[in-house]
């Protein structure tokens, strides 16, 4: 048994787990945080996406012990306009992939804001990369949706990005945001 300390959604949590327990199972079965979903348990679907120190990762391929001391954000800890955008644009049907889609989108938007390129980026050396629909689809390709709600998902992310850019242009709003 290993003693693991994680900061989850801003709260310090301690738990005793066997080293083989995944972060996903620790969240769902030990901490009762069932918002994070298990689709494939082998890294192929993205349903289990959470943020570790703000970066999106797959909790099914993460051993809980390996994330000792890290800051984990699950869907239960997310309060962002993107959630309303998913509702507005029908970014889901059954909802099973949604928590992973939203955590992944938040991580993806942060990656883009930091200047990271993607496989469809033309001109890798460019300083600014426009987040086009093709960019969003490529960057979100690790999140599968069995219901095929992709068009709504992309629209929700696009709207979130546009709002963020607009707010960034209004200096007073920047500090107040999030």
């Amino acid at each position: 048994m290993a003693d693991v300390h994680l900061r989850i959604n801003g709260v310090d949590r301690r738990l005793e787990v066997e080293p083989r327990v995944s972060l996903l199972d620790a969240l769902r079965e030990r901490l009762g945080l069932t918002g994070t979903k298990k689709g494939c348990d082998q890294g192929a679907c993205g349903a289990c996406t959470v943020l570790a120190d703000g970066e999106r990762v797959l909790s099914c391929l993460a051993l809980a012990v390996q994330y000792e001391g890290r800051e984990i954000t699950t869907i239960e800890g997310v309060a962002d306009p993107i959630q309303r955008a998913f509702v507005r644009h029908d970014g889901f049907q059954c909802g099973y992939c949604t928590s992973g889609q939203i955590c992944s989108a938040l991580g993806m938007l942060a990656e883009h804001a930091a200047g990271a390129p993607s496989a469809v980026t033309e001109g890798l050396a460019a300083a600014e990369i426009e987040l086009t629909e093709a960019e969003i689809r490529e960057r979100m390709s690790g999140n599968l949706c069995r219901c095929g709600a992709y068009n709504g998902i992309v629209a929700a992310i696009q709207e979130t990005q546009e709002t963020r850019v607009a707010e960034r242009d209004v200096p007073t709003l920047v500090e107040g945001r999030r």
């Binding site: 080293p19 082998q42 390129p117 496989a119 050396a125 690790g142």
Partner: protein
């Protein structure tokens, strides 16, 4: 998953001591090892977490190369300015692999040592000489659409799945290995072995060695380079065929060329034959096609993967044509 002991190594000496334990394995991002442990393909007794080792930096080398620490995440390497500007094929190759989440987790060292995606390797009821030496190869005469056409043997036809390694092979990268016995350096093109009669031995690394870094030599031609990946869907799938290429032409003549293939061979495949044909040849469609044919001349198809031969030839030609007309990806 079988239970195991876990320890997190704070520094390299501790990691190198710990790996002496029987059944010990290093853990990078875990995206391959944890997956295979859950399927009982890998069954370590001790897992040594190396992600806290101070090997997570990209440093400039005197003379213009880069030294990439083994624990640098795939996503961080692809986003690195110097990589995007000086080795764009490497950034493209990494970005063409896996997903955003996986690239955030995966390390450079782990990417080099990822296991094959041949379906029989992870099917415990199937014959697979790589997983169980002597059990046969069910891919021969079985489902082999994804199998290799180059570098295969009667005992194994599994492809090496990495995209990143294809670019590293073209770039003459060098792998740095460290053990309690010292440090040694192995060129990437000699790091992965052909299967021969011992497909279970996949690389030159010894059981107690740690990958500490990958070095990229200064390579001006790499600034004009590209990676092209062909797969069953537009994203998030392994390569059927991929091409990493860098080319420089002056007055219509090819003066420098680097070419490597993925998805078609049992290891990241440096296309030496095609390079020999192209160096000094006119930079024309005709030369590209002839070189592609020369490289694939030795290809041996299985029952379902013959299409890869023509696909690889076309992909080589198209990539070189694009380099000629549009330049590199940077």
């Amino acid at each position: 998953m079988k239970d195991f002991a876990y320890l997190s190594a704070p520094d390299v000496p501790t990691a190198l001591q710990a790996i002496a334990r029987p059944g010990a394995r290093f853990l990078g991002g875990g995206t391959n090892l944890v997956d295979l442990m859950r399927q009982n393909i890998e069954r370590p007794d001790t897992v040594i977490d190396i992600t806290r080792l101070p090997l997570d930096r990209v440093e400039e080398l005197p003379g213009g190369g880069l030294r990439v620490g083994a624990l640098v995440r795939n996503s961080h390497l692809a986003a690195h300015r110097a990589v995007r500007e000086r080795y764009p094929m490497l950034a493209q190759a990494i970005l063409a692999g896996a997903s955003g989440q996986l690239r955030n987790m995966a390390t450079v060292g782990g990417n080099l040592l990822q296991r094959t995606r041949c379906a029989y390797f992870t099917d415990l009821s199937a014959g697979c000489n790589k997983r169980q030496p002597g059990s046969g190869c069910d891919a021969v005469g079985g489902f082999n659409r994804n199998a290799a056409v180059l570098g295969a043997s009667a005992s194994c036809v599994a492809t090496h799945p990495s995209d990143m390694c294809v670019a590293l092979a073209a770039l003459d990268a060098v792998v740095e290995l460290e053990s309690v016995r010292g440090v040694r350096r192995v060129p990437l093109t000699g790091f992965h072995r052909l299967p021969g009669d011992t497909p279970q031995v996949e690389t030159e690394i010894a059981a107690d060695e740690l990958i500490t870094a990958v070095e990229l030599p200064a390579l001006p031609v790499a600034a004009a380079s590209r990676y092209r990946k062909i797969r069953d869907r537009a994203s998030y799938a392994f390569a059927l065929v991929s091409v990493a290429a860098a080319m420089h032409a002056r007055d219509g003549v090819i003066t420098d060329i680097r070419l490597a293939l993925g998805g078609v061979a049992t290891r990241p495949w440096r296309a030496h034959q095609a390079e020999r044909e192209l160096l000094g040849a006119p930079a024309t469609e005709e030369s590209f096609r002839r070189a592609a044919e020369a490289e694939l001349a030795a290809a041996v198809p299985q029952s379902q993967n013959g299409f890869k031969i023509e696909l690889a030839q076309r992909a080589i030609t198209a990539t070189l044509r694009q380099l000629l007309t549009e330049g590199g990806a940077a």
